[in-house]
Amino acid sequence: MSHAVLLTPATVMIALFMLAPIALAAYLSFTDWDGLSPNPQSVGWDNYAQLLRDSDVGHAAVVTLIVTVVGTLTCNIAGLGLALLLNGPGRLNGVLRAVVFYPYVIGPIIIGFLWSAILGANGAIAHVLGNAGHSPLPFLSDPTWAVGSIVAVVVWSQFGVNVVLYLAGLQTVPPALHEAARVDGAGRWQTFRSVTWPMLAPSVTVNLVLVLVGLLRVYEIVLALTNGGPAGRTNTFAFLILSESFRTNHLGYGAAQAITLMVVIAALALGLTALRRRAEDAVSA
């Protein structure tokens, strides 16, 4: 009885504001609801079929894929690389750790605005180039450049978290192992390859999943940096869902997009965790 008193408030909140909305969106995704009519009609899988034919969705999926794959790899390679550089005592290393990490506390919307003031057509870099007699570079105005800019800004703002997490992972590698490897005559690369890397397996999993889940839902940076432009060419999936939901009244279709993104994120996160389990088991074996 008293257990129920302790459990109920949290359970009710998660049921009301997470499970019920997801269930509602799942239901609406099979209807033609326009946001007003009291009786939405069932349309079967039509909304999902439309999703596959919709070129806007296809394009947003490609942009999201590029941002996620390139971003996840870059964040992790740069994060681990810098963690290896900063692993060790010293005031300077502590300062640098703070320097790569500070974007985390600034938050994505402010970061997006700051970088748009730097990269924009009228921004800081354009003025520096202009004053030197060069024409500006199309950081945000050319579709290809703009996707690259988004990836760069996302990595700039996120990889500090990976540095911190990899540094924590490196602390768990027993110094005795490095010592043993050195005594056995292993070089630096060999020590990394056969001692550090396998011991880091759990860290790698956490970092991969964390960045992957974060990047699949990139929204605020896109909003502040390019607003999806030029001409919708930098819409990520999350950005498309949010902007469409308020512009059109095809809410059933919007719900189908939202459910698709949630399923993709959950499936990738769980799949990646399961895949990585083998690498982690190798450590404990």
């Binding site: 359970t11 938050g107 949010l242």
Partner: protein, 270 residues
């Protein structure tokens, strides 16, 4: 070689911050003429003070609103998640593990997308556009991380504590309140740091749930409203951005060690 790399990284990370600070004190001509320069004789604090006196998006009010939101979310989050985490951490049945799994599922749900169906639920409850509705949803979003941290932490506390309390005649509620909660301080500190940053930097939820109609702006939504109108007037852009990040940067410099260790715990406990 190592030091060259480190210097390069520091440069890439710090240049945007440098531009943010320096240009907040410069006129439009000075910013566009030389964004990186510091015209010492023409620096002015007037652009920053203008952000404070803007009648539409008073940043002072926004600081206050956001700080109150952060406090409310933290209190509410602790009040509902710590007791539940206690029962789940001590529970041995399948349903306890299933319930924990349900909470942890929230770690993978994109809140920016979830918010759309949440609007319907809030409308149904009559809470759309209200502070109550916003706080309830914002708090729900903190529960997965809180549960993750608290369950892992409570599992490290010896069960003998519970036994001793039970022998003394205490029920689960009293045991939780008198024995367990006071010991949870480190885990609570971690959660508070993460949730405070989360609420302070959140933009989508206050923007959508409170909306421009409520006239209640957080720091991020008021900066968005102010900059959205004058995005080419850099004497509005840079000062607003600097004012928005100044409190968190001070918070960060003072609590850097706790934030970093909190984040590490948040990602690896369990």
């Amino acid at each position: 070689m190592k030091n060259v790399l480190k210097a390069l990284v520091a440069l890439i990370m710090l240049v945007p911050g440098y531009l943010l600070v320096v240009n907040a004190f410069k006129s439009q001509d000075d910013i566009t003429g030389n964004p990186f320069g510091i015209p010492f004789d023409r620096l002015s604090i007037s652009y920053l003070t203008a952000t404070l006196s803007d009648p539409n998006y008073s940043l002072v009010r926004a600081y206050l609103v956001t700080a109150l939101f952060a406090i409310a979310v933290n209190v509410l989050s602790l009040a509902v998640s710590a007791p539940a985490a206690y029962v789940i951490a001590r529970g041995t049945r399948v349903r306890h593990r299933a319930l924990l799994g349900l909470f942890l599922l929230g770690l993978f749900i994109p809140s920016q997308v979830l918010v759309i169906p949440v609007i319907y639920v809030l409308k149904f409850l009559g809470l759309m556009g209200t502070v109550t509705g916003f706080l309830l949803y914002e708090t729900t979003l903190t529960l997965p991380v809180s549960m993750f941290l608290y369950v892992a932490y409570i599992k490290t506390l010896p069960r003998e504590l519970d036994e001793a309390a039970r022998v003394d005649g205490a029920g689960p509620i009293v045991t939780f309140w008198r024995v367990i909660l006071p010991l949870m301080r480190p885990a609570v500190a971690t959660a508070v740091v993460l949730h405070t940053i989360g609420v302070w930097t959140d933009f989508v939820n206050p923007q959508i749930i409170l909306g421009p109609g409520s006239a209640l702006y957080t720091v991020t939504t008021s900066v968005y409203a102010a900059i959205g109108r004058y995005s080419t007037d850099f004497t509005v852009v840079y000062p607003n951005l600097l004012m928005a990040v100044a409190p968190v940067l001070i918070f960060f410099v003072l609590l850097q060690r706790n934030i970093v260790s909190g984040l590490t715990a948040g990602a690896t406990k369990g």
